[in-house]
């Protein structure tokens, strides 16, 4: 017999999960396509619509900081691509994280009827947001060239930032999805934390305007490292230190493993509660 289910069997969780995700690749790709189709079909402007939000946010931040606060970057590079890069990466983080967290809660109807690993919903939600991010990169290329700067030769390394971001957001969302299912007010608290994180990441300010203490706090925020690396590899803006690289790879790996472990422990308790 091909597949035998034994509820008492002790299996290697991570190995089983990897096999399972591979077996479910059709499901994941179908969920991603569905997600993208729903998003782009519903608006008249389609694809452009998803870019309008980060572009407008960047435009506002750019006007406020360049024309009102007269902000300048230390190395003399332009502010517009700097802000847009920050907004795009933070949008990726926020939306991948929130949608992956919600995907498991909203998939409960299916999960209570059909045996499928809940993880696939989180993976699919995060992946579909990485597609949005990649589309946003085209806008970033346009803006960068418009202000007279160039794209770095290392731009393809952005794929590493994307992979780490996927791993980070999936790991985090596995932890919060349990909260989302159990407590209906947990979303408000998470939204507040995300807002705080946005200000603690150098999205619209250069790190060197901060005093020592604040700069340390901002540097300890892992997202700062992701953003520094992204800006550096994409358009050679600012610099990415060895610490940034180590911090990015380690946080993404640790958070994913932690998320999987916590999820494994709480899921069977949660699904029985429904």
């Amino acid at each position: 017999m091909s597949n035998i289910y034994d509820s008492s069997a002790r299996t290697n969780y991570f190995k089983e999960l990897t096999t399972n995700l591979w077996d479910q690749r059709d499901l994941i790709s179908l969920l991603v396509k569905r997600d993208l189709a729903v998003r782009y079909k519903r608006s008249v402007l389609g694809l452009l619509w998803t870019l309008i939000n980060p572009l407008l946010t960047s435009l506002i931040l750019w006007m406020v900081f360049v024309h009102i606060f007269k902000a300048r970057l230390a190395d003399g590079s332009q502010f517009a691509p700097y802000v847009l890069a920050g907004v795009l990466l933070m949008t990726f983080f926020n939306q991948a994280f929130m949608q992956a967290s919600e995907s498991i809660a909203s998939g409960m109807g299916i999960l209570q009827k059909v045996y499928v690993r809940p993880h696939v919903f989180a993976f699919a939600a995060a992946i579909s947001n990485s597609v949005n991010f990649i589309l946003g990169l085209f806008a970033l290329v346009v803006v960068t060239i418009m202000v007279g700067e160039g794209i770095s030769l290392f731009a393809p390394l952005t794929v590493l930032v994307i992979l780490c971001m996927l791993s980070l957001t999936i790991g985090l969302s596995l932890m919060t999805s349990i909260l989302f299912i159990r407590f209906n007010d947990s979303k408000n608290i998470i939204v507040l934390i995300l807002q705080l994180l946005f200000y603690l990441t150098p999205v619209f300010y250069p790190k060197d305007i901060l005093n020592e203490t604040v700069r340390l706090i901002v540097s300890l925020n892992p997202l700062s490292s992701y953003l520094d690396i992204f800006r550096f590899v994409f358009a050679s803006t600012g610099k990415a230190t060895l610490f940034d690289w180590v911090y990015m790879f380690s946080t993404s790996t640790i958070v994913l493993l932690l998320g999987l472990t916590i999820f494994k422990r709480s899921w069977s308790k949660t699904v029985v509660m429904m």
Binding site: M1, S2, N3, I4, Y5, D6, S7, S8, D23, D26, L27, S29, L30, L31, R34, V38, G109, I110, L111, Q112, K113, V114, Y115, V116, L179, R182, F183, N184, D185, S186, I189, S268, K269, V271, V272, M273
Partner: protein, 243 residues
């Protein structure tokens, strides 16, 4: 000696019911600080044991809340048992009311694809089957329309059709023979008999004792999560009717 297709040994299932008020983090934090535990543990199933051999059709009967659906969920791997062992050899097709899990914004066709793939099929295999499934459910004309334009009966028919076109070793049927009009019911009953004949083993839940009598080879009678009787169809049904 061959192993049974389904083996359930001394299975208990406990549900934790969250007290109405503890659905928010704020309340949960307050009650945690006060040391109040608002969770109530309820025993849904106690000490259930049975086996289903190759070719057998087991019917589970009992009143509402007897634990029939919980037991099906254990076998479908949706819920893990609190204690005891559940063993199933082969692929499991749950014929639960799939219609309830459908996405109303997607078209009938997209829902067929999604659920077919959820049940373990490849996308290409499902794409080839969409037309056949739609035709069987009598929905060929509407299949490209979003599900929110369908009537309740149409959604139920689609749900049955998706499940009925799934080839699996173990079939789990939860009260879905009552879907649609008389004509469709006859059609689905015939299809069900085909599936039962083609599969390894079947577990069936129904309130309709006539259905049980015509399909089952043995019956498990549950009451309030406890196993009252397990035996031949007529033997258990007679006892059940007298009770």
């Amino acid at each position: 000696m061959t192993n049974p297709v389904i083996e359930v040994q001394n299975v208990d299932l406990e549900y934790v019911i969250r007290h109405g008020r503890a659905t928010s983090l704020k309340e949960a934090a307050i009650s945690a600080m006060k040391g109040i535990n608002l969770d109530i543990t309820v025993s849904a199933l106690t000490d259930i044991s049975f086996t289903v051999e190759r070719g057998e059709v087991l019917a589970i009967i009992g009143h509402n809340g007897a634990g029939k659906s919980s037991l099906l969920k254990l076998i479908a791997r949706v819920l893990p048992p609190t204690s005891g062992v559940v063993k199933v050899s082969g692929s499991v097709a749950p014929m639960l009311e799939l219609g309830a899990g459908f996405n109303t914004e997607l078209s009938g066709e997209e829902n067929i694809l999604l659920f077919g793939v959820l049940l373990g099929n490849r996308t290409t295999a499902m794409r080839a089957k969409v037309g056949e499934i739609a035709e069987w459910a009598g929905l060929t004309e509407q299949i490209k329309l979003p599900l929110r334009t369908y009537s309740t009966g149409m959604v139920a028919r689609l749900g049955f059709a998706v499940a009925a076109f799934q080839r699996s070793d173990v079939l789990i049927v939860d009260e879905i023979l009552g879907v649609g009009d008389a004509e469709f019911r006859e059609k689905s009953k015939a299809r069900m008999k085909d599936l039962i004949a083609g599969g390894e083993a079947t577990i069936l839940v129904s309130h309709d004792l006539n259905t049980v009598e015509s399909l089952a080879t043995k019956v498990l009678w549950l009451d309030h999560g406890k196993q009252v009787m397990l035996g031949g169809t007529m033997e258990v049904l007679d006892a059940y009717r007298k009770a």
